[in-house]
Amino acid sequence: MNATKNKTVRNLYMFMVNQAYSWKEVLAYRQQFISYLFYAMLAPLTTLVFVSVIYGVSNGIAGWSYYQLLLLSSTGTLVSSAVSYLINVRDTFEQLLRGGIDVFLTKPYPVILVIFSRGTKFTLASILGSVAVIGYAMSNITVTPLSVIEYVLMVAIGSITMAMFILAMVLTWYKRFMNGNWLKSFSDLIFNFGGMPLGIYGLVGTILFTVMIPVGIAVYYPAELLIGRLGSSEFALFVMLALVFLYALNKYIGRQLNSYNSAAG
Protein backbone atom coordinates (compact mmCIF):
# COMPACT_ATOMS: atom_id res chain seq x y z
CA MET A 1 0.00 0.00 0.00
CA ASN A 2 2.75 2.38 1.05
CA ALA A 3 4.92 1.33 -1.90
CA THR A 4 2.06 2.06 -4.32
CA LYS A 5 1.55 5.46 -2.69
CA ASN A 6 5.26 6.24 -2.99
CA LYS A 7 5.28 5.17 -6.62
CA THR A 8 2.30 7.40 -7.41
CA VAL A 9 3.91 10.37 -5.64
CA ARG A 10 7.21 9.76 -7.49
CA ASN A 11 5.40 9.54 -10.85
CA LEU A 12 3.45 12.71 -10.20
CA TYR A 13 6.66 14.45 -9.15
CA MET A 14 8.33 13.36 -12.39
CA PHE A 15 5.33 14.67 -14.35
CA MET A 16 5.47 18.04 -12.58
CA VAL A 17 9.26 18.34 -13.02
CA ASN A 18 8.85 17.59 -16.73
CA GLN A 19 6.10 20.22 -16.92
CA ALA A 20 8.32 22.81 -15.28
CA TYR A 21 11.20 21.96 -17.63
CA SER A 22 8.96 22.10 -20.72
CA TRP A 23 7.60 25.48 -19.68
CA LYS A 24 11.11 26.84 -19.14
CA GLU A 25 12.04 25.56 -22.61
CA VAL A 26 8.98 27.19 -24.17
CA LEU A 27 9.51 30.49 -22.35
CA ALA A 28 13.15 30.64 -23.46
CA TYR A 29 11.91 31.72 -26.92
CA ARG A 30 9.66 34.56 -25.83
CA GLN A 31 8.77 35.81 -29.33
CA GLN A 32 7.80 32.31 -30.37
CA PHE A 33 5.80 31.83 -27.19
CA ILE A 34 3.83 35.07 -27.64
CA SER A 35 3.04 34.29 -31.29
CA TYR A 36 1.92 30.78 -30.29
CA LEU A 37 -0.31 32.29 -27.60
CA PHE A 38 -2.09 34.27 -30.33
CA TYR A 39 -2.36 31.12 -32.39
CA ALA A 40 -3.80 29.12 -29.51
CA MET A 41 -6.32 31.86 -28.74
CA LEU A 42 -7.64 31.61 -32.29
CA ALA A 43 -9.26 28.22 -31.63
CA PRO A 44 -11.80 29.44 -29.04
CA LEU A 45 -12.25 32.66 -31.06
CA THR A 46 -13.04 30.65 -34.21
CA THR A 47 -15.60 28.62 -32.24
CA LEU A 48 -17.22 31.84 -31.02
CA VAL A 49 -17.32 33.31 -34.55
CA PHE A 50 -18.55 30.02 -36.02
CA VAL A 51 -21.50 29.63 -33.64
CA SER A 52 -22.31 33.36 -33.87
CA VAL A 53 -22.41 33.15 -37.69
CA ILE A 54 -24.72 30.10 -37.59
CA TYR A 55 -27.14 31.90 -35.29
CA GLY A 56 -26.66 35.19 -37.17
CA VAL A 57 -27.94 33.72 -40.44
CA SER A 58 -30.40 31.10 -39.13
CA ASN A 59 -32.35 29.78 -36.12
CA GLY A 60 -29.60 27.25 -35.45
CA ILE A 61 -30.07 23.56 -34.63
CA ALA A 62 -33.30 22.12 -33.23
CA GLY A 63 -33.21 21.88 -29.43
CA TRP A 64 -30.07 24.00 -29.09
CA SER A 65 -30.05 27.70 -28.19
CA TYR A 66 -27.09 29.92 -29.15
CA TYR A 67 -25.54 29.68 -25.68
CA GLN A 68 -26.06 25.93 -25.43
CA LEU A 69 -24.37 25.29 -28.78
CA LEU A 70 -21.60 27.74 -27.83
CA LEU A 71 -21.09 25.74 -24.62
CA LEU A 72 -20.95 22.44 -26.52
CA SER A 73 -18.62 23.65 -29.29
CA SER A 74 -16.33 25.38 -26.79
CA THR A 75 -16.19 22.18 -24.75
CA GLY A 76 -15.00 20.51 -27.97
CA THR A 77 -12.26 23.14 -28.34
CA LEU A 78 -11.36 22.81 -24.64
CA VAL A 79 -10.97 19.01 -24.80
CA SER A 80 -9.12 19.16 -28.13
CA SER A 81 -6.66 21.65 -26.58
CA ALA A 82 -6.32 19.57 -23.40
CA VAL A 83 -5.52 16.50 -25.50
CA SER A 84 -2.90 18.49 -27.45
CA TYR A 85 -1.46 19.65 -24.12
CA LEU A 86 -0.97 15.98 -23.21
CA ILE A 87 0.09 14.49 -26.53
CA ASN A 88 1.91 16.02 -29.48
CA VAL A 89 1.15 13.55 -32.27
CA ARG A 90 4.05 14.60 -34.52
CA ASP A 91 6.58 14.70 -31.68
CA THR A 92 5.50 11.24 -30.48
CA PHE A 93 5.93 9.88 -33.99
CA GLU A 94 9.37 11.47 -34.24
CA GLN A 95 10.32 9.90 -30.89
CA LEU A 96 9.13 6.49 -32.10
CA LEU A 97 10.99 6.78 -35.40
CA ARG A 98 14.26 8.13 -33.99
CA GLY A 99 14.40 5.81 -31.01
CA GLY A 100 13.57 8.50 -28.43
CA ILE A 101 11.04 6.18 -26.79
CA ASP A 102 13.84 3.65 -26.13
CA VAL A 103 15.30 6.03 -23.55
CA PHE A 104 11.91 6.36 -21.82
CA LEU A 105 11.56 2.57 -21.68
CA THR A 106 14.72 2.27 -19.60
CA LYS A 107 13.46 4.70 -16.96
CA PRO A 108 11.48 3.64 -13.89
CA TYR A 109 8.44 5.71 -14.88
CA PRO A 110 5.30 4.81 -16.85
CA VAL A 111 6.07 5.60 -20.53
CA ILE A 112 2.55 6.93 -21.07
CA LEU A 113 3.13 9.54 -18.35
CA VAL A 114 6.47 10.55 -19.92
CA ILE A 115 4.82 10.95 -23.34
CA PHE A 116 1.96 12.95 -21.78
CA SER A 117 4.41 15.31 -20.11
CA ARG A 118 5.84 16.23 -23.54
CA GLY A 119 2.63 17.61 -25.11
CA THR A 120 2.17 21.01 -26.78
CA LYS A 121 2.47 23.53 -23.95
CA PHE A 122 1.12 26.67 -25.61
CA THR A 123 -2.34 25.08 -26.01
CA LEU A 124 -2.83 26.15 -22.40
CA ALA A 125 -3.84 29.53 -23.91
CA SER A 126 -6.51 27.76 -25.93
CA ILE A 127 -7.70 25.93 -22.79
CA LEU A 128 -7.97 29.22 -20.90
CA GLY A 129 -9.69 30.93 -23.86
CA SER A 130 -12.20 28.08 -24.07
CA VAL A 131 -12.85 28.27 -20.33
CA ALA A 132 -13.59 32.01 -20.74
CA VAL A 133 -16.08 31.34 -23.59
CA ILE A 134 -17.68 28.48 -21.61
CA GLY A 135 -17.98 30.84 -18.61
CA TYR A 136 -19.69 33.40 -20.84
CA ALA A 137 -22.12 30.76 -22.18
CA MET A 138 -22.78 29.43 -18.66
CA SER A 139 -23.66 32.90 -17.40
CA ASN A 140 -26.54 32.90 -19.90
CA ILE A 141 -27.99 29.47 -19.08
CA THR A 142 -29.15 27.95 -15.80
CA VAL A 143 -26.59 25.62 -14.22
CA THR A 144 -26.38 24.06 -10.76
CA PRO A 145 -23.16 23.76 -8.68
CA LEU A 146 -23.48 19.95 -8.80
CA SER A 147 -23.73 19.89 -12.60
CA VAL A 148 -20.64 22.15 -12.82
CA ILE A 149 -18.66 19.71 -10.65
CA GLU A 150 -19.85 16.73 -12.68
CA TYR A 151 -19.03 18.58 -15.92
CA VAL A 152 -15.47 19.37 -14.80
CA LEU A 153 -14.86 15.79 -13.66
CA MET A 154 -16.22 14.29 -16.86
CA VAL A 155 -14.26 16.67 -19.11
CA ALA A 156 -11.07 15.80 -17.18
CA ILE A 157 -11.60 12.03 -17.40
CA GLY A 158 -12.80 12.34 -21.00
CA SER A 159 -9.73 14.36 -22.04
CA ILE A 160 -7.36 11.74 -20.61
CA THR A 161 -9.37 8.98 -22.33
CA MET A 162 -9.17 10.82 -25.65
CA ALA A 163 -5.41 11.39 -25.23
CA MET A 164 -4.98 7.64 -24.57
CA PHE A 165 -7.11 6.87 -27.62
CA ILE A 166 -4.93 9.10 -29.84
CA LEU A 167 -1.76 7.52 -28.40
CA ALA A 168 -3.16 4.05 -29.14
CA MET A 169 -3.82 5.16 -32.74
CA VAL A 170 -0.27 6.52 -33.09
CA LEU A 171 1.30 3.29 -31.78
CA THR A 172 -0.91 1.10 -33.96
CA TRP A 173 -0.14 3.10 -37.08
CA TYR A 174 3.58 3.26 -36.29
CA LYS A 175 3.79 -0.53 -35.91
CA ARG A 176 1.89 -1.16 -39.12
CA PHE A 177 3.16 1.57 -41.48
CA MET A 178 6.06 3.44 -39.76
CA ASN A 179 4.48 6.80 -40.56
CA GLY A 180 1.37 8.76 -39.68
CA ASN A 181 1.55 12.46 -40.48
CA TRP A 182 -2.17 12.29 -41.18
CA LEU A 183 -3.03 11.38 -37.58
CA LYS A 184 -2.97 15.03 -36.42
CA SER A 185 -5.61 15.84 -39.06
CA PHE A 186 -7.51 12.72 -37.97
CA SER A 187 -7.50 13.96 -34.39
CA ASP A 188 -8.80 17.38 -35.52
CA LEU A 189 -11.46 15.62 -37.59
CA ILE A 190 -12.73 13.66 -34.57
CA PHE A 191 -13.08 16.89 -32.59
CA ASN A 192 -14.89 18.52 -35.54
CA PHE A 193 -17.52 15.81 -35.21
CA GLY A 194 -17.43 15.82 -31.40
CA GLY A 195 -18.10 19.57 -31.08
CA MET A 196 -21.61 19.20 -32.55
CA PRO A 197 -24.79 17.71 -31.04
CA LEU A 198 -24.44 13.94 -31.56
CA GLY A 199 -28.14 13.69 -32.42
CA ILE A 200 -27.51 15.19 -35.88
CA TYR A 201 -25.45 12.10 -36.83
CA GLY A 202 -28.35 9.73 -36.10
CA LEU A 203 -28.17 6.54 -34.06
CA VAL A 204 -25.11 5.15 -35.88
CA GLY A 205 -23.13 8.36 -35.32
CA THR A 206 -24.17 8.55 -31.67
CA ILE A 207 -23.05 4.96 -31.05
CA LEU A 208 -19.81 5.52 -33.01
CA PHE A 209 -18.85 8.61 -31.00
CA THR A 210 -19.85 7.06 -27.66
CA VAL A 211 -18.64 3.48 -27.55
CA MET A 212 -16.12 3.29 -30.43
CA ILE A 213 -14.44 6.72 -30.27
CA PRO A 214 -14.78 8.26 -26.79
CA VAL A 215 -15.17 11.87 -27.99
CA GLY A 216 -18.83 11.91 -26.89
CA ILE A 217 -17.83 11.02 -23.32
CA ALA A 218 -15.32 13.89 -23.32
CA VAL A 219 -17.40 16.57 -25.04
CA TYR A 220 -21.07 15.94 -25.75
CA TYR A 221 -22.29 14.26 -22.56
CA PRO A 222 -20.49 16.69 -20.21
CA ALA A 223 -22.22 19.56 -22.07
CA GLU A 224 -25.57 17.76 -21.77
CA LEU A 225 -24.93 17.35 -18.04
CA LEU A 226 -24.21 21.04 -17.59
CA ILE A 227 -27.29 22.07 -19.55
CA GLY A 228 -29.33 19.83 -17.23
CA ARG A 229 -30.48 17.23 -19.75
CA LEU A 230 -28.65 14.41 -17.98
CA GLY A 231 -28.75 13.53 -14.29
CA SER A 232 -26.33 12.05 -11.77
CA SER A 233 -27.16 8.45 -12.74
CA GLU A 234 -26.15 9.15 -16.37
CA PHE A 235 -23.04 10.88 -15.03
CA ALA A 236 -22.10 7.71 -13.12
CA LEU A 237 -22.80 5.59 -16.21
CA PHE A 238 -20.54 7.67 -18.49
CA VAL A 239 -17.77 7.84 -15.89
CA MET A 240 -17.91 4.03 -15.71
CA LEU A 241 -17.73 3.85 -19.50
CA ALA A 242 -14.72 6.20 -19.49
CA LEU A 243 -13.01 3.99 -16.90
CA VAL A 244 -13.62 0.91 -19.05
CA PHE A 245 -12.06 2.77 -22.00
CA LEU A 246 -9.10 3.82 -19.87
CA TYR A 247 -8.50 0.27 -18.64
CA ALA A 248 -8.71 -1.24 -22.14
CA LEU A 249 -6.56 1.49 -23.73
CA ASN A 250 -3.95 1.21 -20.97
CA LYS A 251 -3.67 -2.56 -21.55
CA TYR A 252 -3.52 -2.10 -25.33
CA ILE A 253 -0.87 0.65 -25.20
CA GLY A 254 1.19 -1.45 -22.77
CA ARG A 255 1.10 -4.38 -25.20
CA GLN A 256 2.08 -2.15 -28.13
CA LEU A 257 5.00 -0.67 -26.20
CA ASN A 258 6.21 -4.11 -25.11
CA SER A 259 6.54 -5.23 -28.71
CA TYR A 260 7.81 -1.89 -30.05
CA ASN A 261 10.91 -1.64 -32.26
CA SER A 262 12.40 1.75 -32.96
CA ALA A 263 13.26 2.55 -36.56
CA ALA A 264 16.58 3.97 -35.34
CA GLY A 265 17.49 0.75 -33.62
Binding site: Q31, S58, I61, F186
Partner: protein
Protein backbone atom coordinates in the same frame (compact mmCIF):
# COMPACT_ATOMS: atom_id res chain seq x y z
CA UNK B 1 20.57 27.50 -71.40
CA UNK B 2 16.84 27.94 -70.81
CA UNK B 3 16.32 24.17 -71.22
CA UNK B 4 19.07 23.40 -68.71
CA UNK B 5 17.43 25.69 -66.14
CA UNK B 6 14.06 24.03 -66.75
CA UNK B 7 15.50 20.52 -66.46
CA UNK B 8 17.02 21.40 -63.06
CA UNK B 9 13.59 22.37 -61.72
CA UNK B 10 12.00 19.34 -63.43
CA UNK B 11 14.42 17.10 -61.51
CA UNK B 12 13.37 18.77 -58.25
CA UNK B 13 9.73 18.23 -59.23
CA UNK B 14 10.30 14.52 -59.97
CA UNK B 15 12.21 14.00 -56.72
CA UNK B 16 9.39 15.47 -54.63
CA UNK B 17 6.77 13.28 -56.37
CA UNK B 18 8.91 10.19 -55.65
CA UNK B 19 9.17 11.22 -51.99
CA UNK B 20 5.38 11.60 -51.75
CA UNK B 21 4.61 8.27 -53.37
CA UNK B 22 7.15 6.40 -51.23
CA UNK B 23 4.85 6.82 -48.19
CA UNK B 24 1.76 5.64 -50.05
CA UNK B 25 -0.39 4.78 -47.04
CA UNK B 26 0.27 8.15 -45.45
CA UNK B 27 -0.68 9.88 -48.71
CA UNK B 28 -3.88 7.81 -48.98
CA UNK B 29 -4.92 8.53 -45.38
CA UNK B 30 -4.09 12.24 -45.79
CA UNK B 31 -6.41 12.28 -48.80
CA UNK B 32 -9.18 10.39 -46.98
CA UNK B 33 -8.97 12.69 -43.93
CA UNK B 34 -9.01 15.78 -46.15
CA UNK B 35 -12.07 14.53 -48.01
CA UNK B 36 -13.90 13.67 -44.79
CA UNK B 37 -13.12 17.03 -43.22
CA UNK B 38 -16.26 18.88 -44.37
CA UNK B 39 -18.59 16.00 -43.47
CA UNK B 40 -19.33 17.22 -39.92
CA UNK B 41 -20.08 20.71 -41.26
CA UNK B 42 -22.28 19.32 -44.02
CA UNK B 43 -24.33 17.31 -41.50
CA UNK B 44 -24.54 20.31 -39.18
CA UNK B 45 -25.72 22.70 -41.93
CA UNK B 46 -28.24 20.11 -43.13
CA UNK B 47 -29.68 20.11 -39.59
CA UNK B 48 -29.80 23.94 -39.64
CA UNK B 49 -31.59 24.08 -43.04
CA UNK B 50 -34.03 21.34 -42.02
CA UNK B 51 -34.87 22.91 -38.64
CA UNK B 52 -35.42 26.40 -40.08
CA UNK B 53 -37.12 25.16 -43.28
CA UNK B 54 -34.81 27.39 -45.33
CA UNK B 55 -34.55 27.34 -49.12
CA UNK B 56 -31.43 29.47 -48.98
CA UNK B 57 -29.12 31.09 -46.41
CA UNK B 58 -26.93 34.05 -47.44
CA UNK B 59 -27.56 33.18 -51.10
CA UNK B 60 -26.70 29.48 -50.66
CA UNK B 61 -29.17 26.65 -51.16
CA UNK B 62 -28.38 23.56 -49.07
CA UNK B 63 -26.99 21.79 -52.16
CA UNK B 64 -24.94 24.89 -53.01
CA UNK B 65 -23.48 25.05 -49.51
CA UNK B 66 -22.67 21.31 -49.50
CA UNK B 67 -20.88 21.77 -52.85
CA UNK B 68 -19.02 24.80 -51.43
CA UNK B 69 -17.84 22.87 -48.35
CA UNK B 70 -16.66 19.79 -50.27
CA UNK B 71 -14.89 21.86 -52.93
CA UNK B 72 -13.13 23.66 -50.05
CA UNK B 73 -11.43 20.33 -49.31
CA UNK B 74 -10.23 20.10 -52.90
CA UNK B 75 -8.95 23.69 -52.82
CA UNK B 76 -7.26 23.03 -49.48
CA UNK B 77 -4.83 20.77 -51.32
CA UNK B 78 -3.64 23.88 -53.20
CA UNK B 79 -3.09 25.96 -50.10
CA UNK B 80 -0.45 23.57 -48.76
CA UNK B 81 2.08 25.92 -50.28
CA UNK B 82 2.20 27.45 -46.79
CA UNK B 83 4.79 24.68 -46.25
CA UNK B 84 7.28 27.05 -47.93
CA UNK B 85 7.42 29.20 -44.80
CA UNK B 86 8.06 26.12 -42.62
CA UNK B 87 10.83 24.93 -44.95
CA UNK B 88 12.55 28.33 -45.04
CA UNK B 89 12.38 28.56 -41.26
CA UNK B 90 13.84 25.08 -40.87
CA UNK B 91 16.72 25.82 -43.27
CA UNK B 92 17.49 29.12 -41.53
CA UNK B 93 17.36 27.55 -38.06
CA UNK B 94 19.56 24.57 -38.93
CA UNK B 95 21.95 26.61 -41.08
CA UNK B 96 21.22 24.44 -44.13
CA UNK B 97 20.29 27.62 -45.96
CA UNK B 98 24.02 28.40 -46.44
CA UNK B 99 24.44 25.16 -48.42
CA UNK B 100 21.33 25.82 -50.53
CA UNK B 101 22.37 29.38 -51.38
CA UNK B 102 25.62 28.15 -52.94
CA UNK B 103 23.77 25.82 -55.34
CA UNK B 104 23.16 26.81 -58.98
CA UNK B 105 19.39 26.74 -58.37
CA UNK B 106 17.42 29.70 -57.02
CA UNK B 107 16.50 28.81 -53.43
CA UNK B 108 13.01 30.35 -53.54
CA UNK B 109 12.22 29.00 -57.02
CA UNK B 110 13.32 25.58 -55.80
CA UNK B 111 10.97 25.90 -52.84
CA UNK B 112 8.09 26.89 -55.11
CA UNK B 113 8.76 23.93 -57.46
CA UNK B 114 8.93 21.62 -54.45
CA UNK B 115 5.64 22.97 -53.18
CA UNK B 116 4.06 22.91 -56.65
CA UNK B 117 4.84 19.20 -57.08
CA UNK B 118 3.17 18.36 -53.75
CA UNK B 119 0.24 20.61 -54.54
CA UNK B 120 -0.25 19.15 -58.04
CA UNK B 121 0.03 15.61 -56.71
CA UNK B 122 -2.71 16.03 -54.11
CA UNK B 123 -4.89 18.23 -56.32
CA UNK B 124 -4.71 15.69 -59.17
CA UNK B 125 -5.32 12.54 -57.13
CA UNK B 126 -7.80 14.02 -54.62
CA UNK B 127 -8.95 17.50 -55.60
CA UNK B 128 -10.01 17.00 -59.22
CA UNK B 129 -11.89 13.70 -58.63
CA UNK B 130 -13.67 15.29 -55.64
CA UNK B 131 -14.72 18.32 -57.69
CA UNK B 132 -15.97 16.01 -60.48
CA UNK B 133 -18.00 13.95 -57.97
CA UNK B 134 -19.49 17.11 -56.39
CA UNK B 135 -20.48 18.43 -59.83
CA UNK B 136 -22.11 15.12 -60.76
CA UNK B 137 -23.92 14.59 -57.45
CA UNK B 138 -25.23 18.13 -56.96
CA UNK B 139 -26.00 18.62 -60.67
CA UNK B 140 -24.12 21.94 -60.77
CA UNK B 141 -24.14 23.70 -64.13
CA UNK B 142 -20.50 23.95 -65.19
CA UNK B 143 -19.45 25.14 -68.66
CA UNK B 144 -16.01 25.17 -70.30
CA UNK B 145 -15.96 28.91 -69.66
CA UNK B 146 -16.48 28.29 -65.90
CA UNK B 147 -13.65 25.73 -65.96
CA UNK B 148 -11.36 28.29 -67.65
CA UNK B 149 -12.16 30.89 -64.98
CA UNK B 150 -11.70 28.28 -62.25
CA UNK B 151 -8.30 27.31 -63.71
CA UNK B 152 -7.19 30.97 -63.54
CA UNK B 153 -8.59 31.28 -60.01
CA UNK B 154 -6.76 28.20 -58.67
CA UNK B 155 -3.53 29.36 -60.31
CA UNK B 156 -3.95 32.58 -58.33
CA UNK B 157 -4.70 30.51 -55.21
CA UNK B 158 -1.38 28.71 -55.53
CA UNK B 159 0.55 31.85 -56.49
CA UNK B 160 -0.85 34.09 -53.75
CA UNK B 161 -0.49 31.26 -51.17
CA UNK B 162 3.14 30.68 -52.20
CA UNK B 163 3.94 34.42 -52.13
CA UNK B 164 2.42 34.94 -48.69
CA UNK B 165 4.24 31.87 -47.46
CA UNK B 166 7.55 33.17 -48.87
CA UNK B 167 6.98 36.53 -47.14
CA UNK B 168 6.35 34.73 -43.84
CA UNK B 169 9.39 32.50 -44.39
CA UNK B 170 11.61 35.52 -45.06
CA UNK B 171 10.71 36.83 -41.61
CA UNK B 172 12.77 33.99 -40.12
CA UNK B 173 15.88 36.00 -40.97
CA UNK B 174 14.68 38.75 -38.61
CA UNK B 175 12.84 36.77 -35.90
CA UNK B 176 14.34 33.77 -34.06
CA UNK B 177 11.33 31.52 -34.45
CA UNK B 178 8.33 32.15 -36.67
CA UNK B 179 6.46 28.86 -36.18
CA UNK B 180 3.80 30.57 -34.05
CA UNK B 181 3.32 33.25 -36.71
CA UNK B 182 2.97 30.64 -39.47
CA UNK B 183 0.44 28.64 -37.45
CA UNK B 184 -1.53 31.79 -36.63
CA UNK B 185 -1.49 32.77 -40.31
CA UNK B 186 -2.71 29.33 -41.47
CA UNK B 187 -5.63 29.37 -39.07
CA UNK B 188 -6.62 33.03 -39.50
CA UNK B 189 -6.43 32.89 -43.28
CA UNK B 190 -8.97 30.04 -43.39
CA UNK B 191 -11.40 32.05 -41.27
CA UNK B 192 -11.12 35.35 -43.17
CA UNK B 193 -10.60 33.76 -46.60
CA UNK B 194 -13.83 31.75 -46.69
CA UNK B 195 -12.18 28.47 -45.67
CA UNK B 196 -14.62 27.81 -42.83
CA UNK B 197 -17.85 29.18 -44.35
CA UNK B 198 -18.63 31.50 -47.30
CA UNK B 199 -17.70 35.15 -46.78
CA UNK B 200 -21.30 36.12 -47.65
CA UNK B 201 -22.31 34.78 -44.21
CA UNK B 202 -20.34 37.53 -42.44
CA UNK B 203 -22.14 40.83 -41.62
CA UNK B 204 -21.99 43.15 -44.66
CA UNK B 205 -19.53 45.59 -43.05
CA UNK B 206 -17.03 42.77 -42.33
CA UNK B 207 -17.67 41.29 -45.77
CA UNK B 208 -16.73 44.60 -47.42
CA UNK B 209 -13.31 44.54 -45.76
CA UNK B 210 -12.65 40.85 -46.42
CA UNK B 211 -13.55 41.15 -50.12
CA UNK B 212 -10.83 43.79 -50.57
CA UNK B 213 -8.07 41.62 -49.05
CA UNK B 214 -6.00 38.91 -50.82
CA UNK B 215 -7.05 36.05 -48.49
CA UNK B 216 -10.34 35.50 -50.36
CA UNK B 217 -8.31 34.22 -53.34
CA UNK B 218 -7.16 31.24 -51.27
CA UNK B 219 -10.66 29.78 -50.74
CA UNK B 220 -13.69 31.94 -51.45
CA UNK B 221 -12.96 33.07 -55.01
CA UNK B 222 -12.09 29.72 -56.68
CA UNK B 223 -14.87 27.97 -54.76
CA UNK B 224 -17.37 30.73 -55.55
CA UNK B 225 -16.53 30.62 -59.26
CA UNK B 226 -16.93 26.86 -59.71
CA UNK B 227 -20.10 26.67 -57.57
CA UNK B 228 -21.59 29.69 -59.35
CA UNK B 229 -21.83 31.86 -56.23
CA UNK B 230 -19.60 34.43 -57.91
CA UNK B 231 -21.35 35.31 -61.16
CA UNK B 232 -19.38 35.01 -64.40
CA UNK B 233 -19.91 38.75 -64.96
CA UNK B 234 -18.25 39.55 -61.62
CA UNK B 235 -15.55 36.90 -61.95
CA UNK B 236 -13.25 38.85 -64.30
CA UNK B 237 -13.22 41.90 -62.02
CA UNK B 238 -12.49 39.70 -59.00
CA UNK B 239 -9.68 37.87 -60.84
CA UNK B 240 -8.20 41.22 -61.94
CA UNK B 241 -8.06 42.22 -58.27
CA UNK B 242 -6.29 38.91 -57.59
CA UNK B 243 -3.67 39.66 -60.25
CA UNK B 244 -3.09 43.11 -58.70
CA UNK B 245 -2.65 41.46 -55.29
CA UNK B 246 -0.26 38.88 -56.77
CA UNK B 247 1.80 41.78 -58.19
CA UNK B 248 1.88 43.63 -54.86
CA UNK B 249 2.83 40.46 -52.97
CA UNK B 250 5.58 39.65 -55.51
CA UNK B 251 7.18 43.06 -54.92
CA UNK B 252 6.96 42.61 -51.13
CA UNK B 253 8.36 39.05 -51.35
CA UNK B 254 11.29 40.06 -53.59
CA UNK B 255 12.22 43.07 -51.43
CA UNK B 256 11.85 41.16 -48.17
CA UNK B 257 13.76 38.08 -49.36
CA UNK B 258 16.55 40.32 -50.74
CA UNK B 259 16.83 42.03 -47.39
CA UNK B 260 16.57 38.69 -45.54
CA UNK B 261 19.47 37.18 -47.52
CA UNK B 262 21.73 40.04 -46.42
CA UNK B 263 20.86 39.42 -42.77
CA UNK B 264 21.29 35.66 -42.74
CA UNK B 265 23.87 34.33 -40.29
CA UNK B 266 24.05 30.59 -40.83
CA UNK B 267 25.29 29.35 -37.49
CA UNK B 268 23.17 26.21 -37.46
CA UNK B 269 21.64 26.33 -33.99
Amino acid sequence: MHNRTLSKYWLLFEYEIKQLTSYRMDAVMTIVTTLLYPLALVIMWTAVYTFGGYDSISGFSLNGLIAYLFILSAINTLVWSSEIAWMIQWDVKTGDIAMFLTRPVSYIKGMVVDSLSETLFYFTVAGIPLIAIVILVTGMHVTLYTILLFAIAISLTFLIGALMSTILGALSAFITDISGIISTYSWAVALVGGGVFPLSMFPSSVQGILLALPFQFLFYVPDGIITGNISLAMAWGTLALGIVWAGILTVIAVLLWGSAKKRLDAVGV
